[in-house]
Symmetry: C2
Subunit: 308 residues, 2 copies
């Protein structure tokens, strides 16, 4: 089978740490071009702009967009207009409206568009979804608490308008919860704590209810020192499910059921290859929609200034 000729747009940390090894390990893909203003990769054609690649003699079937979200819509639109399949890093856009536009553009051209939520490919997530599918949910607690100084050093953009603040990591939690819970859920109340010298929240408490009324409480914190928490607990009438380490460990009633090596990005590329083979798309904005709902509905309180 001829591999899918892929271009990677944006060659930052996530592209080097995750995309490049996942592409190299998957025989269904062949990396044929890098688009980056500054960075190059030995042995791979390099372009400083996507438009230059698309008018060159290097043929690509698909592009993976690993740039920050702001320019992503224009790049994706350009790629779709040129007949290329598109993978979008998370979050899939700076706004919901632009993702909806891409969904329509891909559908009109029968091209594959994939919104990626890498945490959904953590090893505990799929078995958690299967276990919960048949059980009555009583309550859900999301604790996503990390030290921004450790995990996001020097990332000033995270505090800017549109930078999402503590929702930058917490959107991973929302991507897991929207996947594993059997029913949709909706924000009823939220509080965002925004440092007096920043635009984006550093802490948040969110109260959702699912369609059957079960409470879902999320506590998000960017100032967590000591033990870090990327945990989701689900109480059911048939015992408690717990995902820890961002989905890498699954416990049922305190007993470790699954753990394993990081397989998230290989899982994304496996899904991308299958979508292309099937002529299908996977456009799910629900995690970003919950974040937008939180910004729309929540009360804002002023938190002390944050200085890195």
């Amino acid at each position: 089978m001829t591999p899918i000729r892929l271009a990677l747009v944006g060659l930052g940390k996530i592209a080097r740490d995750q995309h490049l090894p996942s592409i190299a390990a998957d025989p269904r893909f062949e990396l044929v071009a890098i688009v980056s203003r500054n960075a190059e990769l030995d042995g791979v054609a390099h372009f400083t702009a996507l438009a230059d690649l698309l008018t060159s003699d290097v043929t690509v079937d698909a592009v993976a967009l690993c740039t920050p979200p702001q320019p992503r819509h224009a790049l994706a639109h350009l790629a779709l207009a040129a007949g290329k399949h598109v993978m979008l890093e998370k979050p899939p856009g700076a706004t919901l409206s632009e993702v909806e536009d891409l969904r329509q553009a891909a559908a009109e051209r029968s091209l594959t568009l994939q919104t990626t939520w890498h945490s959904r490919y953590a090893i505990g997530v799929e078995p958690a979804r299967e276990w919960l599918a048949e059980r009555a949910i009583k309550a859900v607690r999301i604790n996503w608490k990390e030290d921004v100084r450790v995990w996001h050093p020097g990332q000033d953009w995270i505090w800017d308008a549109g930078g999402l603040g503590v929702f930058d990591p917490a959107i991973n939690a929302l991507s897991i919860v929207t996947r594993i819970l059997p029913r949709p859920f909706f924000l009823s109340k939220g509080v965002l704590h925004v440092p007096e010298n920043k635009q984006s929240p550093i802490q948040a408490e969110l109260d959702f209810r699912d369609a059957a009324g079960a409470p879902i409480r999320a506590e998000l914190d960017f100032l967590q020192t000591g033990p870090q928490s990327w945990d989701i607990e689900v109480d059911t009438e048939d015992g408690q499910l717990k995902l820890t380490h961002g989905g890498a460990k699954l416990y049922i009633d305190g007993q470790l059921m699954r753990e394993g090596p990081d397989q998230e990005y290989p899982g994304l590329y496996d899904a991308f290859a299958k979508l292309i083979a099937d002529g299908a798309s996977d456009v799910d904005v629900s995690p970003l929609r919950h974040v937008a709902d939180a910004f729309l509905l929540s009360e804002r309180v002023t938190a002390p200034a944050f200085v890195e």
Copy 2:
């Protein structure tokens, strides 16, 4: 033809001023019940809760939800589960996620769900859409400037979290612009001015671009004294279109082309009757999605305290 037996849920100002006369004037509807905690209407069955109506011997085919947005999702879900068609006043929900849930619930049951955007039925809107459909857009200016003290006296909820502030009227502008412009558009930058003693913006400037790059600038103001503005100007390569008075007057190159009496709510009920007859739904969240995008992406600056 048997009329559609309709229940009105919520009997506040908008229900009395707009819904009741529109229903009375349309022979395709028969008002058979009012659901309201406090208010009643002579000669119409009255219930204090929707659940009581649905288990009573009064048969309804459809419900129009005129309550504030916060309880609307639970009410709509209840009505759909009981097999009733549903009309949602604007905005269709407190969050985008809950409207998506209703869309799916209606589709699963083959029931009609209508998100209503009354300003789209203003007399100038449909001819504006037709005129713009064939023309190249150069720039769009939205000026939505009104005096909150005149138009929203005592409406403290408008300033609360989720109350939308100046977006409560401006969502009408967005409902018109999303209807008349031939291409989708996306927020690229926004500034929200929030009074230091309130949660919701009192002024906003929003910069959008349409899919072909044309700039769309919206200036929203809740502190406008003197002349009020509910105006949309569209520069095309073939002249300028202007909608004023919230869409009630249409000008092309300064010449008045259309004006007429208020026909917005009769238009909504006409559309609702047709959707029910056709077994169709009209679920368009694009105006609310733009508002959520504005809250997600915009910079916030502190404005002076607002005291009514």
